[in-house]
Subunit: 131 residues, 4 copies
């Protein structure tokens, strides 16, 4: 699977005093979509956590193109860019209809409980799931 | 110590499209003030967690009296009402100057890792700290 | 319509360091469900806002019965208890399968731009929509 | 003023099931620090809003270097990089003691109520305040 699409409806409390989605909340939306992506490709994310690893975000480049409003129905496209055993990156685009709301490049790595980059067991190699 | 006061400044992203603090965020403020209370009375909350217990909230009764706005400087008064080994309650009042913004009664209990109510070791008996 | 049910999936960032949904986030869930209720009964909530009114929450009594975890699929039942022109209350229950997670009684009122309780135009009388 | 430093203590509900500050919350911290910066240099941000303008974020590049934990005492350094009448950028670094937690470059613009980039009145020219 190359690109996975997640629908998401803006909740009222995610909007700021200007009526727009607060810019930090888009990072939450992207996280929801990445989890949805992993579920869709059959990657056992919860098994990875149970095995003692976590998958922190190391870098985000995010461009805000248009404002989303309360109850807007958005779609989030998630496409892997690089996938290695310990690190990777994903392009994610949030749209409302044809309008691009947000474009982001998100980089992640896998670390052990001590926070050190670590190779997870082969069962948790995201490359197998993605290809 | 009977009553402890915590100052808190409203952050812009805590306000909703009407410019008011979203009503759920006051529960966050109350949580910040309860932690501050426990620090002030010398209760080793982090030791309690490290010993395998958590302190979930079981009930809240909260009345919203006035709206707070971005950058308002609030004070939160926290006063224990009942303190037992495993359960307790606390009255908390959020004010902006003389104006009462929120009044709440918050009930808590102590549970073990399996989520069952549990007596913590004597070192973590909140009654000793409060009296 | 007497009771309306809203499905909602827990998002990972809504969970605290114990893995449980932070207790404040349930108020967000209840807000999402109330908006969904108003849509389901055909109440023009956005018209009410555009006409210069808002509908703040004045009181919540909430009991936490069980913990919800990341990606739990919850249902939220919303049932009006009292509905008057300017004030009202709603009972809301959050469940995971047969387990009751949260029970709440939520009171609201309608205020004008100055924050004073105010009778909205007849088109925004929630009683007509509910009955 | 070239660099302004804002202290900030991590709140428990800002941490995720791994005990770390959720990565989206750092954007909230950066927003708090930018407001604090504007106050420190005497820029009338609320006047700008009252005059019908808003200052949305258009782009963020953020690197996560280390995890912050509940109740960590952080400092946030904010340094303008470019300041023009309608657009600008700021470098922001979050530290815990000597440890760099987050580095970010944040770009903003000024728009009118219709969301179009717009030159604000001279009283709201951030260049005067910064220099």
């Amino acid at each position: 699977m190359k690109t996975h699409t997640t629908p998401l409806t803006v909740r009222p409390y995610e909007c700021d005093p200007y009526g727009h989605v607060n810019h930090a909340n888009y990072l939450h939306y992207l996280e929801v979509a990445r989890l949805d992506y992993m579920r869709a490709v059959g990657f056992d994310y919860h098994g990875l956590l149970a095995a003692g690893y976590i998958m922190p975000i190391t870098h985000i480049d995010i461009a805000y193109r248009a404002a989303a409003l309360s109850e807007d129905e958005l779609t989030i496209e998630s496409t892997p860019v690089t996938v290695r055993r310990v690190t990777g990156s994903m392009k994610q685009t949030i749209r409302r209809g044809d309008t691009v709301v947000v474009e982001a490049l998100v980089e992640w790595c896998i670390v052990d409980r001590a926070g050190r980059p670590a190779r997870p067991p082969e069962a948790y190699d995201l490359r197998s799931a993605v290809e």
